[in-house]
Amino acid sequence: MVKDIKVALIGNPNTGKTSVFNRLTGLNQKVGNYPGITVEKKQGICKLSRGVKAHITDLPGTYSLNTTSLDESVAVELLLNRNAPDHPDLAIVVTDVENLKRNLLLYTQIRDLKIPALLVINMADRMSRKGISLDVEALEKKLNTRIALVSTRKNTGIDALKKLIENYRAIPASPCVDISKIDPPYFDRLAKAFPKEDQYKLWVVITQDVNFTRLQKELPEIDPSFRIKSKNDLKRLQHKETILRYQFINAVLKDTYTVDWLAAKGLRGTLDRILTHKVYGYLIFLLILLAIFQAIYDWSEVPMDFIDAHFALASEWIKDSFPPGMFTDLLAEGVIAGIGGIVIFIPQIAFLFFFIALLEESGYMSRVVFLMDRLMRPFGLSGKSVVPLMSGTACAIPAVMATRNIESWKERLITILVTPFMTCSARLPVYLIIISLVIPQGRFMGLGYQALTLMSLYLIGVLAALISAAILNRILKIPTRNFFVVEMPTYKLPLWKNVVFTVIEKTKSFVFGAGKIILAISIVLWFLGSHGFSEEFLNADSIVTERIAEEGLSENSKAFIADKIQEYQSTLRVGLRKSEGTVALTDVQDSLDLLQRELEVRAINQEIASFRLEHSLIGQMGRGIEPLVRPLGYDWKLGIALITSFAAREVFVGTLATIYSVGSDEEETIKNRMAAERRADDTPLFNLASGISLLLFYAFAMQCMSTLAIVKRETNSWRWPMLQLVFMTGIAYLFALGAYQILS
């Protein structure tokens, strides 16, 4: 029985570490979180010969073992803790041939932990273009290790790398530098106190930034007298360590690694001049953003409509082919509709991540950070927050997922928390219908009041996001590195495999990570909306039919039937005029009678549906919150719509259509019906005051269970989504209250 090999993949950011991981594992990978924290944990299996498997952990990218972020300390902890289940038998250090010198710094540190470390030199295909020549054999001798020269782009060297992994026992675990040189007396003392422990390992434990690490339990308690006196002393020693390591590296690379600068060619300079230009730079970024949104809106529409239609069909099919009853209803209206509500997001997520992966892979994202840093700094954000925030105007769900690219946890959290303020496309149907109801048609300086209102709502969203970011930046006490260093990688053509993997991985992460929460909430909402225990709910059919028998159909239903008949007659007339023959008058009358009867049945069903919703559990909740929403200018029917639209904002319109039993999803019909809705004192329900109040409510409130689910997934805790729910809805309530009270 051959033991499986545990491998840790480690390297600086931008060395193509993830490409190596993808090449080694294919789609055999699992992405999760480290327990209790939000650092992404990527693991995969690489099949070697003779049935041996390598379990590969892709550690977060880090420049050195002197950690300054949670991500990096996760890497360090795994390397230090020999009892950890994933503690590696072998470390694979991925380096980029162009930045070999800098990348080797981390390599020497890992070697000093006495972990066998294989060196992967990636991007070998760029060597000749960059004028680099490398003597691999000599380098192997000097470093006393094995080297795999690979190109993940051209897919070369991967098999050789697998062979080296198989024979990992042949790779020595000797250290590279003697750390005690940086302060001999100190390390003497340390050696005497812990004769069994490795000096560099002790040093790493001592120098870990206490803010970040959950210190390794299996390591000895280090006497306080060994603590470094001050931050300055620590830095002085780390400075010495860095110089010591570079001395070693320079000696190793001398004669083995040479760059002929004259032969080096590169687009970097030219592209940088254009892409970070003070005018073109912003213009290009704007165009790219526009292209992304165009894609998210337009390209997603077709698949989204397709998904919508087919889930509706599936739901109908289940209702028709299974015996009617609670279970069938649950399946058709709860489960299938709920799954549909998850799948509907996939096109947007896939498109956004397709583009984000392109931007990251090509190296352009760093240029965006460079361009936007100064603008975003006052809000505690950097350029990396720009793409998620802007994506929020399409949909908050992919936007929140896009924050994964922000390294600083504080910045990422702030971006996650404020992104739902951005005006997403689900708000649009609500905005449009209310604006057309309450905002007059007039113009101001050539611009329609209605257009201005819509624009103001978008601006309010942006302002709310930025202002809350600035506030959160002040009040959130999260240790974070307080300096800004961004590597500007070379431009590369994106690797399609990486792009595709990112898209698949993000979609999976949404469907399986947030999907179950969304499904659970939508089943609860379905249950509340379709069940009730009052006499009225249970006897809805007979009550409504009796009422119709006595009083006739409601005004809404009559209007609905009249509309349809008229529509039919006008098409009939056009049809008759076109046809040559004559049609007997009685035939026309018969068809009209038939239609009339059909429509009456439909109208009765609509009235029953409306009555049932009114008396369902959600209906009762709507009535229950009426005292709460009356100061905002709403009645209990709007209360119901507020509750149901917690599923997603656009549900607001559909719910009103059901409550008012308008029997149509056409906006015009619903709008007319809303305009006719009166209060007890016979004033219109939707006036300027209540309309603005509703608009503001929807601008601020966290009315989207899917966003909450994805925030839970991304922050790995219920704390942040709950905070978001309470605060955003609180702010929404206050603004809506203020607006209504002032305007009415």
């Binding site: 050195s64 930045n99 800098r102 830095k235 860095t242 970070t276 460079f370 361009l371 300096f483 260093v485």
Partner: protein, 75 residues
């Protein structure tokens, strides 16, 4: 003279500096005394600065660039 005083395309050699002024990360990226720095780009709002320090291309903020003393290389 510091990195912040460079003009685009200027090069300089980093002078000895007090270790406490710079984050260790910057040293690890190659920002060490004796190494060459070239200013490649300045962001539109004059901040941050895009430099090449001993082959590493990084962007740093102006406040940090102002702390790194240089000796200007005549081009």
């Amino acid at each position: 003279m510091t990195i912040a005083d460079l003009k685009r395309g200027d090069k300089g050699i980093i002078q000895e500096f007090d270790t406490d002024i710079l984050p260790i990360k910057l040293l690890e990226l190659g920002c060490l005394p004796g190494n060459e720095v070239e200013l490649l780009q300045v962001a539109p709002l004059r901040d941050p600065l895009y430099i090449n320090v001993s082959g590493t291309h990084i962007a740093i903020r102006r406040e940090m660039a102002e702390k790194i003393e240089l000796e200007l290389l005549s081009s």
